[in-house]
């Protein structure tokens, strides 16, 4: 018998919390993106744990889709970061106040 699922889920909760904290605290856009990836990984870990607990392969298929969406999101997000850097020469989220009235 393997480890109880609640340990995996607790680890997932803590990993998600660290990612959310990074998004809230850090001001570098690239590091905020990495923290979003941390949160996605926490969700993936919970999906795999539930797939094992409920004997349902759908959880693992969902992780596959999350990977695809994460790849697309990173490509578009980094494209936006490059486009912003070309105009503002900064990756600091506090510098991006063009729409402030």
């Amino acid at each position: 018998m393997s480890i109880s699922p609640s340990w995996y889920l607790s680890l997932s909760v803590v990993l998600f919390a660290i990612g959310a904290l990074g998004v809230l605290v850090r001001r570098n856009v690239l590091i905020m993106f990495m923290c979003v990836e941390l949160m996605l990984n926490a969700a993936n870990l919970a999906f795999v744990t539930f797939a094992r607990t409920l004997h349902d392969i759908g959880g693992q298929v969902l992780v596959f889709f999350v990977l695809v969406v994460a790849a697309a999101e990173v490509v578009v997000g980094l494209g936006i970061v490059v486009a912003i850097f070309r105009r503002r020469a900064s990756t600091n989220a506090d510098d991006l106040h063009l729409m402030k009235g």
Partner: protein
Amino acid sequence: MTALLGVLVTSSSHPTIPDVGVFAVSAAIVLAGAIGVVVARNPVHSALMLVMTLFGVAVLFVLQQASFLAAVQVIVYAGAIVVLFLFVIMFLGVDKEENVAAEPLRGQRPLAVGLVALGTTGLLLLGQVSRWTTGQPHVAGSDTGAPNVNLIGKSLYTTYLFPFEATSALLIIAVVGAVVLARRPPSATSSSEVEEADAALDAAPDAGSVPGPDRSAADPDRPEAVTTPPGDGTGDAEVDA
């Protein structure tokens, strides 16, 4: 660590010692990497810490008999996404040390830490007092078989066929979006207009203290631009000459 191992051994229904050891080590790697991502000053260090976390999560996938996902995790995340991050960091030349201690908004960090701690403890307590799952019967096939690549493939091409096809459209859209975003502006005139607009926006906070009526007087270009009749503009001068 021994106390943690003892809790792990007694709480679940007799996990084997290697399982406990692998879980404890990979969980420590995952958490250390995640904390490293958040606190590292250099973005390159953050990316490498992210690789560490991703490998730890892959080990946890293997520990839960999700070997296909572990391989995909290493290939896609560590092999493609983090490399893309590193490429952009070094392409932009932002791999400089950053002052993490500087706090732009007063009170934001304690508030963020408090909110996240509240949410985390709430979730963990909720997991203690209630059931994690609803107990619904599975619909997509059992996960008990040892070679679950077959199960994933069969489920992907039967039950989840439409979402699988939709991901192809998503990837095409992402590729087109990345190309459009990374393209330089087509002509020199439009880029100079962009720079002028940026310069005007940069100068705007300085003029922000000036009251409304005086601001048009302080900016001599704007009344001219408004009152100049069409056909007398700078763009049409070349045509008239």
